[in-house]
Symmetry: C2
Subunit: 207 residues, 2 copies
DNA sequence: GTCTATACTCTGATAGAC
DNA sequence: GTCTATCAGAGTATAGAC
């Protein structure tokens, strides 16, 4: 999955900067149009570089997409990793909910990038889903199950509890245009969602 | 938005059947690859027709997509339309939740078709979102608000309550590959979701 | 109504000058 | 390292035979 320079030489500062510029532009375009809908021309224009120059830094369109996905994977999983098995159950879970909603608000393009990829069958991410993601979720689900067995939170299927946090928080990023179209002007979707999801999960977690 | 034959002649049986064959194939392909990612070649192959023949029945690729979206819109909104302002609040809302989850289970392609479109900014659906969809949601949100004011359900922001039903039910269709990858084999995602969402919303709605 | 052939455009990728 | 020029293939759409 890694697309780093296979040679032993480290990247120069210019190389590192240009790679970052390209990945930033690629995020803009891939997140909006999906993998096949995005074109190198669009990415080159957003990046302010020529199309052949893109392909000097990355061997192919797919390599850019894969580098983008792997580069963002850690950021995407960190909020769940931070869930502390030794902490107070409700505090830890509510902390996760709020961190995940903050991610949707602050990084909606990243959310849509992953949403596009999974929606289309995750052809370039299946390995990560079945590997790192499943391992992490299984690990944290075991923590949730223990808390439930100890009567410290409601007895809920832990995997689906995690899915519900993903679904409810990512909805505000992925379906942003629908949320805003339905709410109409004069609303702050994320502020309202923050209060609503706080209420929802606090009620749900009561044993 | 309508893409019907502009002439006054009604469609023959053959024409109607071929249009349906094309739309069925288009659903298969557009829902998996999104608008730009789908090709007329793929749709023609799935439909078992030649590419020019597709363009005999529809004037363009975009026309097929638009016909597909408008044709599915009613099916997609019917479960919410069926929410009865005169019924028992919890029964009505739980009925909506279960109907919506059944839609995700039985029509996942339709769910992904709309998800792809909205995710990419809803360029061919914005009008419907701001018109029919907003009107319907506003109308039903007013019902929910009345029930909350009467103390018959918990006092929650009605629009976000509806968003939460959408997010939680559509997640199982749109992110199906992720759900199955994380759960691993030996699970029935929709059966588990049905029980989980029943618990979740019953708890949430208690005043 | 349906097909083969094809026009024309877009897209990913490469060659080669500087 | 970056550019212009360009190729080969795929893509939408049309022409015209049957």
């Amino acid at each position: 999955m890694d697309q780093e320079d296979p040679s032993d030489r480290p990247l120069t500062r210019i190389q590192a900067r240009n790679r970052q510029t390209i990945l930033e532009a690629a995020l803009e375009v891939f997140s909006q149009y999906g993998y096949r809908g995005a074109t190198l021309d669009q990415i080159a224009e957003v990046a302010g570089l020529s199309k052949p120059n893109l392909l000097y830094y990355f061997p192919s369109k797919e390599a850019i997409h894969i580098a983008l996905l792997s580069g963002q994977m850690d950021t995407w999983l960190d909020p769940l990793r931070a869930l502390d098995p030794g902490g107070d159950p409700v505090t830890e879970i509510m902390g996760y909910v709020h961190r995940k909603l903050d991610l949707s608000r602050d990084y909606p393009r990243e959310s849509r990038l992953f949403a596009n990829e999974i929606l289309q069958g995750a052809p370039r991410m299946m390995e990560a889903l079945q590997g790192d993601l499943k391992s992490l979720v299984d690990e944290k689900a075991a923590v949730l199950a223990r808390w439930a067995a100890e009567g410290r939170i409601a007895n809920l299927p832990p995997h689906h509890l995690i899915f519900s946090i993903w679904a409810l928080t990512q909805h505000y990023a992925d379906f942003d245009v629908q949320v805003r179209a339905v709410l109409g002007p004069g609303h702050d979707p994320y502020a309202e969602a923050d209060r609503f999801l706080d209420t929802l999960f606090r009620k749900l977690l009561i044993p």
